[in-house]
Subunit: 370 residues, 2 copies
Amino acid sequence: MSIPRIAKLAKVSLGTVDRALHNRGRISEETRNKILRIAEELGYQTNPRARALAIGKRQFRIGICIPREMHQYFDSIHDGIENELKNFSEFRVALVNSSPRQTRDSRYEHVAYLLQQDIQALIVCPGDAQELSELIASAKGAGIPVIFISSDAPASQRTSVVWVDPGLIGRIAGELMARFLGQRGRTAVVTGDLTNLSHRKRAESFARRFKEIANNRQRCEIVEGHDDYEETFEKVSSLLRQQPTLRGIYVATANCIPVCKAIHAQGKANKVHVIATHLFPEMVPYFENQTIWATIYHRPNWLGQYALRLALRSVLEKKPLRSSYLVQPQIILASNMHLVRERAKASRRARFDDTVTALGADPVDEDDVA
Amino acid sequence: MSIPRIAKLAKVSLGTVDRALHNRGRISEETRNKILRIAEELGYQTNPRARALAIGKRQFRIGICIPREMHQYFDSIHDGIENELKNFSEFRVALVNSSPRQTRDSRYEHVAYLLQQDIQALIVCPGDAQELSELIASAKGAGIPVIFISSDAPASQRTSVVWVDPGLIGRIAGELMARFLGQRGRTAVVTGDLTNLSHRKRAESFARRFKEIANNRQRCEIVEGHDDYEETFEKVSSLLRQQPTLRGIYVATANCIPVCKAIHAQGKANKVHVIATHLFPEMVPYFENQTIWATIYHRPNWLGQYALRLALRSVLEKKPLRSSYLVQPQIILASNMHLVRERAKASRRARFDDTVTALGADPVDEDDVA
DNA sequence: TTGTATGCGTTATCAC
DNA sequence: GTGATAACGCATACAA
């Protein structure tokens, strides 16, 4: 089941088989079909290691566009990308980085820039669903796979998306909250911005699942904090004053610190509890004093790692990509908190800023295990 | 940083570098040292893909000894092994299987048999800590790596163990139970056999963590079911009669069905809830009727997959193995139950029975993602 | 339109 | 002890 073997069976040369298999033209329909038929029958699969070896000297360039805000989250994605890079140290891969400052800033100019940099694949955390569609269509035309991380824009022509199902996240949080609270007390959601599809989905799924289990007919208040510290603190503080029976808050975004602070400021420290999102060092004290009871960890590190793996597989091994890769979220309690990398690690973002990270260093474990 | 480059720098031939790097003898100390020094300076790492290509025609044989009882659990391990096998389809790997019928049966004769089969690595689910030590020492002497799955025997000379920290499992279950029950009601543990180190560890950790959080001073009853259906059903039934304030049961072994049945038989259906271990089809109804509130999933599939990956890495890439690989358990609720493979899949054990599974079929995604 | 030659980095088999 | 040389499977530049 190798090219030489096919060549022998078809009584042609290696080059001919190669042309048939890879649609390179300069081949007659007849021989092409004969060869393809034989390859089919033999169940030919190209040997990725041999291919890797053969094309190993080329430079590959991968474009990266991931906003810089919310360090705890996006830095993890970047770390994941770097991690995976080490698994490809035999190749000459360069990451070309161009990222907007704020989460809500336009990615247009950045992606446009990246597409001019002779990249072979593009990894983006998209913001607005619409703005990139034109650029992505042109990338597709140029044969450049575009991989979305963390959120999707279904209308776009992106090749693949690597993310966590937001409905699933909401349902898990809702079920957990219902079990934690039993029948007593009501709950609320703090989210970023309901115009964001993922945020809305999480909030809705949470509320639905909570009511389903807790048999609770009360309205579940939804607070938009816009990932702003002050705004969130104020809104949650007033919510706590208005709703004395509030017992649980699901913070569907990374911005849970002002929520915890508000709870303590209102003297509700052991009365109101939080289910949060992600995990980073500032949260640890609130885990320890039992303000946070659980957090839903989206594994940003793994999102990044997998996105780069897909990009490089597509480029190096010509592997066709599926349109969607769903990553499983993890439920984190105080007992397994120590297993999350972001709990302790300092930000390394500096290394990434607007640089071309050339590579080729020490190979490393992929360490899903830990 | 390749062998030819080192050869040029050292002004020797490829063969000489090879002999220096791999301690093949037939080389003078002097040139050996010179070459090793240069390789060190250049940070030489052998290119695994090239190596793979070069040794691709050899046969490799991996011995497997995993008991057949408890299909839901051990079959998953086997499935994981087969999964990983597909990622190495370019090689000629054969799995040599010899497994005891019962979990508690001796593995001695099986392992002894496997060691005579010209295997290059051995994967075992050990039972008794002692019985294999002599065989394992001799395997070590013969340069055959021995990888334990799922439980450890610290005194033995095994190369590596791939497992889930039993203390961690117990603490997670304990914390979850404490959160679920709040301050009300007491709890109990159903386990297999307290002479088994992992089982004891899980039970103890559970009890300690539960008390810590729930501020509960009551004794936490521990029931040994010996993974026997009848015995477990009887013991749990009588426990439920004796302890009317019992609210939660942690089943630390896969044997949770008789526990659920006993709860229903005693008319405690919505009063007593279960945190279980693993997930398989028979459990689904009890998840749906809210008898089971959560389960701790040890990811047996991944245990198997990773064990084979380590074995093949050790053999094919000469990669040194760490002594312990800790896999993270997952907390499963009704909301994310559908993500667990074992929930639905039928047993495929037949394929494995006492056969030499020769291979080389279709390569496949590794799909941690799903 | 087809065939041949060369190289990727490693291992293995010779001959010297 | 050491150095050529071929082979693994694939890609590619060049020759026919």
